[in-house]
């Protein structure tokens, strides 16, 4: 039987082109249960999801003109977790499967190569995986809804579509951005990634957020910007400083009503320029919140989508061999998008699991890997009244984490810290 294949969506094109011998863009979603995971049952659950989520059980292939995803002949096997999350996904591994399912004690983690999907798609897959696992393990009857899919049905076309193509504006917005401040430090030579998880009560966080009159994402981005400005102040004179920008992914599904489970988010680089004066936390909150509100509009995002879509519609670029495209896309990546920020803060919200699943799940988390151009990253997910703030880094220095979490404590938010330090 002929294997199914899928074109990479517009956002996914950049990830194979920017991959390096020791780096590629991967992220992880995980669920920690209240009991140890039965790996055999989990393997059955993984296999059962193959029919409903065909675009995740794929390999990355290289065509003459474009990369594409091809249905994988291999099972996605449940593996034991490693000492650190998001271990390197080599090109050899991507030719077998672009996704991993990992288990450690009570935790089920799924790591995705970013060309498959974004954080939303990843969390939908994980929710369905956990739901299927609980059905097989405990015989639960979990009702189907927007989140938990009927595994016997074929995936509707709208879940597999490239929603970027539908929603691009006629005129593209510019990509040019001023270079931002970059954190740096001594890199871990063996690829180790330090993960520091700050666990806060969601209500305490929301109380602090409401006091500032902004959204949770804007508040956390403001605290992060304040921490980075503090590091830059200790390092450079004001006139030699650079803007501090927080890269915030915007889930475009809400703006355009899309149901796709492939990539459909774009990033905004938002922040403040410390060369022009000092900012209080309240000022940072306000400026980030209002920039976010001003830029994350359907019209503005449509212009940004067009900036990604239009180049791939140029005949001359379409006919260029994939290796040449890689060079061009690598150049674009280095000058725009996530590369233009100082750190990324991804906040996954709006994941409401059916009540039948809740007694079995302790926590859910989301972790994005360090970018190629900067060593720290931050991802946030709330579950069961707690918010899990995961800060990852591939350098030894923990100064940013120290400043960020101790600032939250100063603001009256109690923080529990966990880490995977060696």
């Amino acid at each position: 039987m002929q294997k199914k294949w899928y074109r990479l969506d517009t956002a996914a094109l950049i990830f194979p082109a920017t991959a390096r011998r020791d780096w590629c863009n991967v992220f992880r979603v995980s669920a920690t249960l209240k009991e140890p995971v039965d790996t055999e049952v989990l393997q059955h659950a993984v296999d059962d999801l193959r029919h409903r989520f065909p675009s995740y059980f794929v390999t990355l292939r290289k065509g003459i003109f474009w990369y594409y995803l091809e249905e994988s002949a291999r099972r996605v096997l449940v593996q034991n977790d490693y000492a650190y999350p998001l271990t390197f996904m080599s090109s050899r591994e991507l030719k077998q499967n672009c996704m991993r399912v990992l288990v450690y004690k009570n935790r089920i983690a799924v790591e995705f190569f970013h060309s498959l999907t974004d954080g939303h798609g990843g969390s939908v897959f994980l929710s369905n995986l956990v739901a299927r696992y609980l059905e097989l393990k405990h015989g639960l009857l979990i009702p189907r809804n927007e989140l938990i899919k009927d595994l016997l049905q074929d995936p509707p076309g709208e879940e597999l579509e490239d929603s970027f193509l539908k929603n691009a504006a006629e005129v593209a917005s510019g990509r040019k951005e001023e270079a931002s401040y970059r954190l740096h430090g001594i890199r871990e030579q063996d690829g180790f990634k330090h993960l520091t998880t700050g666990i806060v009560e969601t209500q305490a966080l929301l109380d602090a957020v409401h006091r500032c009159g902004v959204s949770a994402t804007a508040f956390l981005a403001a605290v992060m910007a304040e921490s980075i400005i503090g590091i830059q102040n200790a390092e450079r004179q004001r006139k030699r400083q650079r803007p501090v920008k927080i890269t915030i992914p915007v889930d475009l599904r809400r703006l355009y009503g899309s149901k796709t489970l492939r990539n459909f988010s774009l990033v905004l680089n938002i922040g403040a320029d410390p060369r022009y004066g000092d900012y209080s936390l309240e000022e940072l909150c306000r400026t980030i919140y209002h920039q976010l509100r001003a830029f994350a509009t359907p019209q503005n995002m449509a212009g940004m989508i067009a900036a990604n879509v239009q180049p791939q519609e140029l005949t001359i670029l379409r006919l260029a061999p994939v290796s040449l495209k890689n060079l061009v896309m690598d150049g674009v990546y280095r000058r725009s998008g996530e590369s233009g920020g100082s750190i990324n803060i991804s906040n996954i919200t709006g994941l409401s699991l059916p009540a039948e699943m809740l007694p079995y799940i302790e926590r859910m988390e989301f972790i994005i890997g360090p970018q190629r151009s900067y060593p720290n990253n931050c991802s946030v997910m709330s579950f069961g009244g707690k918010t899990y703030i995961n800060m990852i880094r591939n350098i030894r220095e923990s100064e940013l984490e120290r400043r960020f979490f101790s600032r939250l404590v100063e603001l009256g938010i109690a923080v529990d810290i966990e880490s995977n330090r060696r």
């Binding site: 020791d22 000492a83 923990s398 984490e401 979490f405 404590v409 810290i417 995977n420």
Partner: protein, 228 residues
């Protein structure tokens, strides 16, 4: 348990605060419940097999073409020997490590030096010289020792990079003096015509690094400026 410096609550059993490294008092010696296992992945980066295969084929083609041309033209190797051994040296230095996932410098550097010695010996014999044992061999041996020691220190000693680089620069200065000394022994040239200048340059740069290693503020400034 709370960190007295950051104010965050820590996992039971941790020895230091993960944020500020402040030691944590743990009177009950509670075992830490680790969030991750101890196992590391087998590989954290890719080997460069495609590059290795391509370069091997290219080298093989050049060697075969050189052999054919020399044998057709002269019926003997003549200059082809220099090309082939030079290419072998290039292959061992630049291409051979590509075959390995994590090439070990402490293994490859002595091999590189051995092949370089072979190449120099060939040149010495072909040109009818008598300088291999008195000049080239000792210098290649010393160079091999210095570079292997440097690689081992960088690899197995955690920290103290400025001292290692500083020491290396001073040793390199001494090496240039030795080059002139063996030149003097083999070819009878006058001593200290140029080597003292290079020694002064290397030694002053090395001393600067050693001093920077001893002064934390200067060390931090250097780390910040030369970070890559």
């Amino acid at each position: 348990m709370y960190c007295v410096k950051c104010g965050v609550r820590l996992q039971d059993g941790v020895e230091n605060c993960p944020l500020c490294q402040t030691p944590v008092w743990n009177p009950g010696k509670i075992e830490q419940d680790h969030a991750f296992p101890d196992s590391f992945p087998k590989h954290y980066r890719e080997s460069n097999l495609a590059g290795a295969v391509a370069m091997t084929l290219l080298c093989a083609v050049v060697i075969i073409v050189t052999l054919i041309v020399c044998l057709q033209l002269y019926g003997a190797l003549r200059w082809g020997g220099y090309v082939i051994l030079g290419l072998l040296l290039f292959y061992v230095v630049a291409v051979l490590p590509l075959w390995f996932h994590v090439p070990r410098g402490e293994v490859f550097v002595p091999i590189d030096h051995a092949v370089a010695a072979l190449y120099v010996l060939y040149i010495c014999v072909k040109t009818g010289g008598h300088w291999f044992l008195s000049f080239a061999m000792p210098l290649i041996l010393i160079s091999c020792l210095i570079s292997t020691a440097m690689i081992c220190l960088l690899k197995y000693v955690r920290g103290g990079r400025l001292f290692i680089f500083g020491g290396f620069l001073i040793v390199m200065g001494v090496f240039t003096v030795l080059v002139e000394f063996f030149e003097h022994l083999s070819f009878g040239v006058t001593m200290f015509r140029w080597s003292l200048y290079s020694f002064a340059g290397f030694a002053s740069a090395g001393l600067f690094l050693l001093i920077a290693g001893m002064i934390p503020s200067l060390r931090n400034e250097l780390q910040r400026r030369f970070f890559f």
